[in-house]
Assembly symmetry: C2
Homo-oligomer: 135 residues x 2
Amino acid sequence: MINYTDTLRKHNLKATPQRIAIVDALFLNGHVSTESLYSIMLEKFSSISLATIYKNINLMLENCLIYEVKLPHAKSVYELTKSSHSHLLCKKCGNIEDVDINLETLVDKISKITEFQIDKTDFVLSGNCKNCHSF
Amino acid sequence: MINYTDTLRKHNLKATPQRIAIVDALFLNGHVSTESLYSIMLEKFSSISLATIYKNINLMLENCLIYEVKLPHAKSVYELTKSSHSHLLCKKCGNIEDVDINLETLVDKISKITEFQIDKTDFVLSGNCKNCHSF
DNA sequence: TACATAAAGAATAATCTTTATCTATTAAGT
DNA sequence: ACTTAATAGATAAAGATTATTCTTTATGTA
């Protein structure tokens, strides 16, 4: 398991074993919901409190270590903060994938038309993944 | 006030005064959260139950009369179902605007690259609206 | 227009979900 | 090793959503 002590400290968070394991779980699983993170954590820390999960998710959100991805017709999932990207959601199997789409030109155009200063996008594309539509 | 009896019936919903008022509130306000819908409704129906709001929102969602817009760092809002469009969110004043962006070419491209069959997009662009950045 | 009936509304209880509180423990700097 | 502020766990509290029960009502039919 990678040591995320520095990562946590850089985000003004004490490096507790629980937090290191949370970051590791996000790294390994990519996109994780609150309750799924709780069950993952229970395997390593049999007496971890659900409140600890919530508290740390909120702290990590505030310190921009993780990001919340809001999905249509599903609960939010959390991911480690990366450079801006979009998400693919399979409506059948629930799988979530990152996808890099260059939205710069598009956003510039919309910015001009709407007179909005846009500095962030949340883009989720839903459908069926390769496995779920090829049979 | 427009009579939404037919609209409701077309979506397999009985046209009760409460439901007509909900549809009207969404039409007039564009994007409404649960609690804000509740306060709007309380003005017309002083004894309406919050459970009625939730029940009807869910029924209208199931019957595709309304759509849930999930926003970053904010509670969901609901809108009357329209043709596919994106949303602009002002991070300062909280204002939400619809914006028509033709994503077809983009989505086709991504579909080919990722081998996902994409049939829906949820696109929220966040920033500052005209009023909030021009002063 | 009145009737029958399934559905909806209001009130409220019950069930999540999330946050707050309190105490014992621990990370991290000295 | 020692000190201190922050964290974890346990649990209560608060907030959000759903379920239940009973009364009322929309709507199709006679």
